[in-house]
Amino acid sequence: MYELRQVDKHFPGVHALKAVDFKVNRHEIVGLVGENGAGKSTLMKVIYGAYQPDGGDVLIDGTVVRFQNPRMAMDHGIGMVFQEQSLILNLTVMENIFLGYEQQFVKLGVIDWKAMSEAARRQLAKVKLDIDPAMTTSDLSFAQRQLVELAKVLTLEERIDGDLVILLDEPTSVLAQEEVELLFSLVRDLTKRASFIFVSHRMEEVLELSDRIYVMKDGAVVDVVAHDGADKDAIQHKMVGRDVDKEYYREQKQKPYDEDKVLVRFDGVSSGNRYTDISFALHPGEVLCLVGTEGSGREAILRTIFGLETPTKGQVTIKGETISRFTAQNGVKLGVGYTPRERKIEGIVAGMNVYENMTLSQMGNYASAGVLKVNEEKSLARTWIERLGIKTPDVYKDCGGLSGGNQQKVVLAKWRSAGADIMLLDHPTRGLDIGAKEDVYEMIREMCAAGVGVVLVADTLEEAIGLSHTIIVLKDGAFQKRFDGKPGSKPSLYDLVHHMI
């Protein structure tokens, strides 16, 4: 009933969608997979009306439609559940649900809160969420917020007579296993009323939930597989264009680290109430993984090593030097590199090109008397583009326009080319697809082989276990347990979770 025919979309320098045919039938759940930069997000934006295609047609029940904006798409029954949650945290749940559509509750110019609350309750019942609609949204858990997002989109049911198409963009990324299952059973239930388009990096989930799966690569649909005929390896092969290595975390490349030398040492370090009495030592060639829940102090420890946070107690030693002044400049000087979690905001500077980003932390090396040697910068960038296989048309490309994996490579190149030998990686593979993740794992192993010490806050526990030599489990800012992770004798998921909560 919803259909795209030969849809094309161009951006400056990029052919983002190439003659895409896409179809959603009534009561169907359609999966959409592809690597970063394959065109998934562009396709979604076309579907929910944020982008207008340059070529091809959008059809609903066989009639050509053209959406100027998301609101028009919504009026045709197309709703989007955003990955970056779009709720306004200081509003109440009901205000969020009916944001922009309050008119129906207005009586004599004022909002009838009681009516809105009742209507909100009905929406929340659809997603089986039993909370007070007058609650402030920031008090909800991530999982609850995700369900409120869904409830908000489901208000389309009452507003629209025709069929509904609901896009779910990475809805499970912040959810725990039980919550994912709850969401899935809900979505299956709702297919009575609506069709779904489900986008996720987690292949197992897409396989489990979808009736049909569209596989995208380089802006084109390369395959459409039915639920029954779907095979994870085959799909991944199509997405990446090659076999996915079974040795995902490159464990065979994990070499013992150099125990005689110490790069970073923490002696009973505390920082406010973020973490207390933390001690560890990082050695060359070691991947030390900090494991804990959100707010367990992992990020604060990374920021302390880099120099962005000054500890209140204890002693931090970097390469034998006891740190007294904590500044990022000092950290960089000592060879510390920091890859922050918010890649687009803290990792790269959008608006600056590839070579400008790569030399940002080390401009002094590419300047004399404060005057930049731009040619040397460019040749550095070309070297690293080739070395890390960064996909960019040239060194002048704005980093904001690169895909996530390539942005991350630029950030890593920035530190590696400056000779950083203490690397702090905060969720380095967040939001990356399989191919780009593997590239990052490969780089981590290469860095270790070159004698770099890595402090890692991993995206998943599996990743933490797979990559690390040493795991330190934290809970509420306090040290819980240390695990050694030699290949073959790694701790299990259960071992870690047990100490985390």
Binding site: Y338, M352, M363
Partner: protein, 314 residues
């Protein structure tokens, strides 16, 4: 061609269109001698706008420039007899110091720059009133010519004022595009958090940006003072709005990170053309600020990078 793609070219297209409109309505506009005078007249404003560009480029603003220039006109007039050409150094140091203080207050005390620089502007105004005794002061013509006569006059038909403007533009352009400081400015303007996470001393970059703005404002004040052969706590009034307009219509948005000093040169020329058009159309001087106020709003609305404003869907 989408609007986003034309946007970087908007300023010079606007300039060319305006020149053509004004030129067709009033062919004498193209008279070389008249044009040269017009351009020379706009030099103090241009220098001030040049400095302002640095403050806006990092996403801030410097509202103290006009009062700072006022203060410098007084300083120059009062101390010319005593120090001769060295008053230029005093003026520049004063501009630098006021800029550094604004920058310090902004970065270390977390006072938004529009407030900190506004406050510093009043400090400068007050100092100017105190120093001048609230009177209009005049320079001794002989002393003035001995120290600063070189600023005016012509060589090979080129007014020296214009040459000064070009030199300062080249210096500012070099700073912006060829130095580590300029690169850091761009990083701070485009992505401050990433600049911090790259280990840049962001506070120092910002303080320096305000200091440069102060220095350029001081130079503008000095030039203006010498040109009018006097000093007065109100001499440079009316410059602030025009300087902001020049930067913004030139294509450096309030959100910073793009544009730059060359854009400001174009922006200043746009201001100049609009001003001469208003003279030609016999728009009263009292109404000109109104026109520029409207132009300012239009320029902000057209240039601001909405994706950088928080809470707005891209």
């Amino acid at each position: 061609m989408s609007f986003e793609r034309i946007k970087p070219h908007f300023p010079w297209i606007t300039l060319v269109v305006l020149i053509l409109i004004v030129g067709i309505a009033n062919p004498s506009f193209f008279d070389p001698a008249g044009l040269l005078t017009l351009v020379s007249d706009v030099v103090p404003l241009f220098i001030m706008a040049l400095g302002m560009t640095f403050a806006i480029y990092i996403g801030g603003i410097d509202l103290s420039v006009q009062q700072l220039a006022n203060l410098v006109t007084v300083i120059a007039t009062v101390y010319l007899a005593e120090f001769g050409i060295a008053v230029a150094v005093i003026a520049i140091v004063a501009g630098f110091a006021i800029g550094v203080i604004s920058g310090f207050v902004t970065t270390r005390l977390y006072v938004p720059s529009f407030v900190s620089t506004l406050a510093m502007g009043f400090v400068a105004l007050s100092a100017a009133k105190f120093l001048s005794g609230q009177r209009a002061l005049y320079m001794d013509a002989e002393l003035r010519d001995a120290s600063f006569g070189w600023m005016f006059g012509n060589t090979a038909g080129i007014p020296h004022e214009l040459a000064i403007a070009v030199v300062l533009l080249v210096v500012a352009w070099f700073l912006q595009t060829r130095t580590t400081f300029g690169r850091a400015l761009k990083a701070v303007g485009s992505g401050e958090l990433a600049a911090i996470a790259s280990g840049l001393n962001v506070d120092r970059v910002k303080i320096l940006a305000f200091a440069i703005s102060g220095v350029f404002a001081a130079i503008a004040g000095l030039l203006f003072s010498v040109k009018l052969s006097g000093g007065d706590a109100n001499l440079a009034n009316g410059f602030l709005l025009l300087a902001i307009v020049a930067v913004l219509v030139g294509g450096t948005p309030l959100t910073g990170g793009v544009g730059g000093v060359v854009n400001t040169a174009i922006g200043t020329l746009i201001v100049m053309v609009i001003r001469s058009a208003m003279v030609y159309l016999e728009i009263d001087a009292t109404q000109q600020q109104m026109v520029f106020g409207i132009v300012l709003i239009a320029a902000i609305a057209l240039t601001i990078d909405r994706s950088k404003l928080r809470g707005v869907v891209k």
